[in-house]
């Protein structure tokens, strides 16, 4: 793992220097939170909109970092032969991609912290009822969605291509999985389709942890399964 802190630090700086990443992972979800909470209110179940939307948009942030920005970085590094140059060093692939994952998930941590802070201080959201559960759900969401992101990054030849494919997976998914529209407010058929997306278990588990309701073991198992399968295929399919 020699060099891992260096690579993480460098990747974080590179992400920070790219205004698009910072905007879509940090500013955009914060603006959406404002748009959705500015008039206050609650869901028919009595849950305040703030308590629903903070965990929902957290999934948006994880998805943006894992499904859009991460694969774009990996694919662009391949396209520009950055990966090829790295391959000629003793740096191990596990270290390099582990560092990529950590750096991109730290971006998602910042985005999450920003949403929580705004929700908490501006809109009076309550603190998560089950902090440990939220952390576990967050990590499993990050692992499963990043595995799909790595798979994209492993096979798409260009950074632009990976961005387009990443966005076209991400946007329909955030809308129908309940990351933007509360699952409770969606029609039955739309919710049924949304439940088939890999983002749905993430939304459900993070919200359940937040509200303190029982987390479905199936959601957690599905995320773990996605991580193992997509991650395994990504490793098999990967080309420098």
């Amino acid at each position: 793992m020699r060099g891992i802190t260096q690579v993480i630090a460098v990747e974080l700086k590179l992400i920070a220097r790219d205004p698009m990443s910072a905007f879509f992972a940090l500013a955009f979800p914060a603006i959406m939170l404002w748009v959705k909470l500015r008039n206050g209110g609650s869901l028919p179940s009595g849950l305040s909109l703030a308590d629903a939307n903070v965990p929902m948009l957290t999934t948006f942030v994880i998805g943006m970092a894992a499904l859009v920005i991460l694969p774009a970085t990996v694919a662009q590094y391949r396209e520009r032969l950055v990966l090829k140059r790295l391959r000629a060093t003793p740096a191990s692939p596990g270290m390099l991609f582990g560092a990529q994952w950590v750096a991109h998930m730290l971006l998602a941590v910042f985005g999450t912290a920003l949403l929580v802070a705004i929700g908490f201080f501006v809109y009076g959201a309550s603190a998560p009822a089950n902090v440990g559960g939220v952390v576990v759900a967050w990590l499993l969401a990050a692992l499963s969605l990043s595995a799909i992101g790595f798979l994209l990054g492993a096979v798409v030849p260009s950074g632009r291509g990976a961005t387009v494919i990443g966005l076209s997976l991400f946007f329909p998914m955030v809308f129908i999985s309940g990351a933007i529209i509360p699952r409770e407010s969606m029609g039955g058929s739309m919710r049924a389709i949304g439940d088939l997306t890999p983002m749905a278990p993430a939304v459900q588990a993070i919200r359940a942890g937040w509200e303190g309701s029982a987390m479905s073991p199936i959601s957690l198992a599905v995320m773990l399964g996605i991580c193992l399968v997509a991650g395994g295929v990504a490793i098999k399919a990967f080309r420098w």
């Binding site: 020699r2 460098v10 700086k13 032969l81 950055v82 140059r85 000629a88 060093t89 003793p90």
Partner: protein, 250 residues
Amino acid sequence: MSEVAATDDSVNMTVIEIEGMSKSYRGKQVLESVSLKVEKGEIFGIAGPNGAGKTTTVECMAGLRQRDGGVLRVLGLDPQTDRRRLLPRVGVQLQEAALPDALKVGEALKMYASFYEKPADWRALMDEWGLTERQRSSFRSLSGGWKQRLFIALALVGNPEVVFLDELTTGLDPSARRMTWGLVREIRDRGVTVVLVTHFMDEAQALCDRMAIIDQGRVITHGTPGELKAQGRTESLEDAYFALTGGQAA
């Protein structure tokens, strides 16, 4: 020629040994049978027409590509099966490789240094190669000459015993090229063996202790630049190159 090589052998050590190396991509034979020897501490040139197999040869030596057949030893190690032991001991500058646009010169050197067990002092290296004034410049903002300077420094940051330079001066203006030649001699003067792929015969004449000309996946001749001129019965190395590759003289 063989006498010279024999006496040199007693003093020198063979750093790279290739015997009958072959390689094909998607059914196209790129290397038919490449054989050559590089001795410790020399600048060894590889020249030849586009598509002759120069880059493939170097990338096999640097452990970036797998050969199909033949023997290949770099520092006594097989780059295919002993990558992990070989990579800490070699440095490369690759044709067309790049760094992330927003990465700064100092950050690149510091990060690459962190990959090696016994790296060179990256700040000292940055100083030696005149990069300190560009420490905070992003890769994107560097001109071709500065990029090549950075690539050379990155190739040296692991304190390698052998350095592979693939078309180091292609695309540089004449003064940047001359300056780069000086840098390559400095590498050799530190005792590092240099393998240099080049298209330019003036460059080969100025830098190489010995060289090989590769054409259609084979080494068609090798020797010192003087020996190649004698073989081609020509005054200039460029004319010798055309005579030996069967191309048209200028």
